[in-house]
């Protein structure tokens, strides 16, 4: 006799070729018999060569925890071809068990996760797939842009204006904040070195050239990757989850022309303007720091104007246009390739930002090499 039996929660008796399991008492409290115990007690009573009769005393209190244990017990009996008679149980409990046992749907075993080698191989082919899908995406995008040039595009002007407003004016605040700080950082960085040479006034050169050629475009692009690229991925990913992209396709519209082109164009048109704005604000930040080192505002401005030529400004703007396109491509591609679950939309957004920043840094390095070879 086990402990639980002595608590009078259940009794097992054998009579003839019938094993009787009698349940009693309060089965709602946590410390009751587990299904393993029930099965063992019945087996000890010689269940294998008998049939099982389930009954309950009138004082039985139960919830679905008991039902789940009986369910295990009955399934155990079924697997061992032991017949079960539950007519001694309360009718609601019988009904519940009946429901649980009614449907036998075997989904079959799930496919096993691949081994390490297979995973390595899959990883390798994944890299190739990524490259192919990026090239395909860019190719389709170019075709869509050609259609736009030929005036046969499905792109709506209204969408373009909407996205310009989203990624332009609304981004000014954050761009201003980051740029003024970057300008100040550049100034401090130079000031420490230049003061040793007594050449504080050249802080203006450092800030102006640094902002216009490098930090202005790059920092603005990083902000826009986090702000707009992520938003594109989340929008398109949610549209994918809502079957909106399917709707666009079956309505005879091209997702590329209808969804991607306005987003890309908006970003490409707005980015250079944001960069000009960022440069100006960055210079102001630098000037504030410089004024603390006895370089007054007019001196700073004159020095900055002398150091920066038109070529410097153009190189920065060319960068910004390319950066904008890269951010839009990373964001839209991640969104369109997204799965249909909420987790997948989250992954798409992460992917958009990570890819965009990788693209940005690689492209920036390439630009700098190119510019130094070209001597601009």
């Amino acid at each position: 006799m086990t402990d639980r039996e002595s608590l009078h929660l259940f009794t097992v008796s054998r009579d003839g070729n019938c094993v009787r399991l009698r349940l009693a008492g309060d089965w709602i409290e946590a410390d009751t018999a587990s299904s393993v115990e029930l099965i063992r007690a019945c087996t000890d009573a010689g269940l294998e060569s008998a049939q099982l009769f389930l009954e309950a005393s009138a004082d039985l209190q139960w919830n679905s925890l008991l039902a789940s244990r009986l369910f295990q017990l009955v399934r155990h009996c079924e697997n061992h071809a032991i017949s079960v008679d539950d007519s001694g149980l309360p009718s609601s409990l019988r009904k519940l068990l009946g429901l649980a046992l009614a449907v036998r749907l075997d989904p079959g075993p799930r496919p096993k996760p691949p081994g390490i080698l297979a995973q390595l191989g899959r990883y390798g082919s994944l890299v190739r797939e990524e490259v192919v899908s990026l090239l395909a995406f860019v190719g389709e995008l170019v075709l869509a842009l050609l259609n736009l040039v030929r005036g046969r595009s499905q792109t709506r002007l209204r969408d373009l204006f909407y996205f310009i407003e989203q990624c332009g004016p609304r981004a000014l605040g954050i761009v201003a904040l980051i740029s003024v700080l970057v300008g100040m950082i550049l100034a401090y960085l130079g000031a420490v070195q230049l003061r040793q040479l007594g050449a504080e006034v050249f802080v203006a050169n450092l800030v102006a050239l640094g902002m216009v050629r490098e930090m202005g475009p790059l920092m603005t692009a990083v902000i826009m990757a986090g702000r707009t690229g992520a938003a594109y991925a989340a929008q398109l990913g949610t549209m994918q989850a809502n079957e909106e992209i399917d709707a666009v396709t079956t309505l005879g519209l091209s997702p590329m022309e209808y969804l991607v082109v306005p987003r890309l164009l908006a970003l490409v048109l707005v980015m250079p303007l944001l960069v000009v704005f960022a440069n100006v604000v960055g210079l102001v930040g630098g000037a504030v720091v410089a004024s603390g080192m006895d370089v007054n505002f007019m001196q700073f401005l004159t020095q900055a104007r002398e150091s920066v030529g038109l070529g410097d400004i153009v190189t920065g703007l060319v960068k910004s246009v390319v950066f904008a396109a890269l951010i839009a491509v990373a964001g839209c591609q991640a969104g369109l390739l997204s799965g249909r679950t909420s987790a997948a939309v989250g992954n798409a957004t992460t992917r958009a930002v990570v890819y965009a920043i990788v693209y940005l840094v690689v492209a920036d390095a390439a630009f700098n090499i190119l510019y130094s070879v070209m001597g601009v």
């Binding site: 393993v36 925890l65 369910f71 009904k95 679950t341």
Partner: protein, 253 residues
């Protein structure tokens, strides 16, 4: 109930009795689901109050709100399953939150709940890998994980074929009977309304209030509102003009 300046429904006054299978019915866009959101404490009514066992959810202390929610099981229109968790993990969420069960016991309980809704063996599947009807049933399994006293359904049969939706209805009845709970269902499916409801309230989109309440069979022939009779008779003009009949015996607050 209102969304901003837009009034959805007003002057609602009805009671759901213990053990009822209560249907909130009405045409599309009349505010059925909004009413349900107010009943389950997701949105606060603009005026008036919702009492559950005499308790106003929005006036209750936070611990009490948790205790109230523990006794509620809710399935949403689109299931509301967590898509990054397997079915077993979905059902486990309320169990881990509110019960002190051991691992093995919890696994048994989860297997049982999934078997109840006909999904035995699907423990390790993700919601995205099973059909819409299965998702609804899995959501039901999660809703009944804790043997709730109160079960809420928002459009259980939306998007299901007639056979599956009838099976789901039968499942709801069987589970509520055996667990002894009360069920509140939002639906416009007449089959469900006549098949399982013991009591109902009709919301009207035009007058923005409840037109009538009572058992649906009784409403079909005896409602004093032609709109309600017409709704329940699938839009057929009924010949009986029951305008002289009495309303159900007073509003039960």
């Amino acid at each position: 109930m209102r969304y901003g300046a837009r009034l959805v429904q007003e002057n609602l006054n009805f009671q759901v009795n213990r053990g009822d299978i209560f249907v909130i019915m009405g045409g599309s866009g009349c505010g059925k689901s909004t009413l349900l959101k107010h009943m389950i404490g997701l949105s606060e009514p603009a005026a008036g109050e919702v009492l559950v066992s005499g308790e106003n959810f929005f006036r209750a202390a936070p611990e009490q709100q948790v205790a109230m929610r523990r006794n509620w099981g809710i399935t949403y229109q689109r299931g509301g399953l967590f898509s990054d968790l397997t079915l077993a993990e979905n059902v486990a969420v309320p169990l881990q939150q509110y019960s002190a069960l051991g691992k093995a016991e919890m696994a048994e309980l989860i297997a049982f709940k999934l078997a109840l809704v006909g999904l035995h063996g699907f423990e390790d599947y993700y919601p995205g890998e099973i059909s819409g009807g299965m998702q609804k049933r899995a959501a039901l399994a999660r809703a009944i994980a804790l043997d709730p006293e109160l079960l809420f359904f928002d459009e259980p049969s939306a998007g299901l074929d007639p056979l599956s939706s009838r099976r789901l209805d039968e499942l709801i009845v069987a589970i509520s009977e055996s667990l002894g709970g009360t069920v509140v269902i939002v639906t416009h499916e007449l089959d469900s309304i006549f098949g399982i409801a013991t009591n109902a309230v009709f919301l009207d989109a035009e007058t923005r209030t409840q037109l009538d309440q009572g058992p649906p069979d009784w409403l079909l022939n005896h409602s004093s509102h032609a709109v309600v009779r017409q709704f329940l008779s699938r839009g057929r003009r009924d010949s009986r003009q029951a305008s002289g009949e009495l309303q159900p015996s007073g509003d039960r607050a």
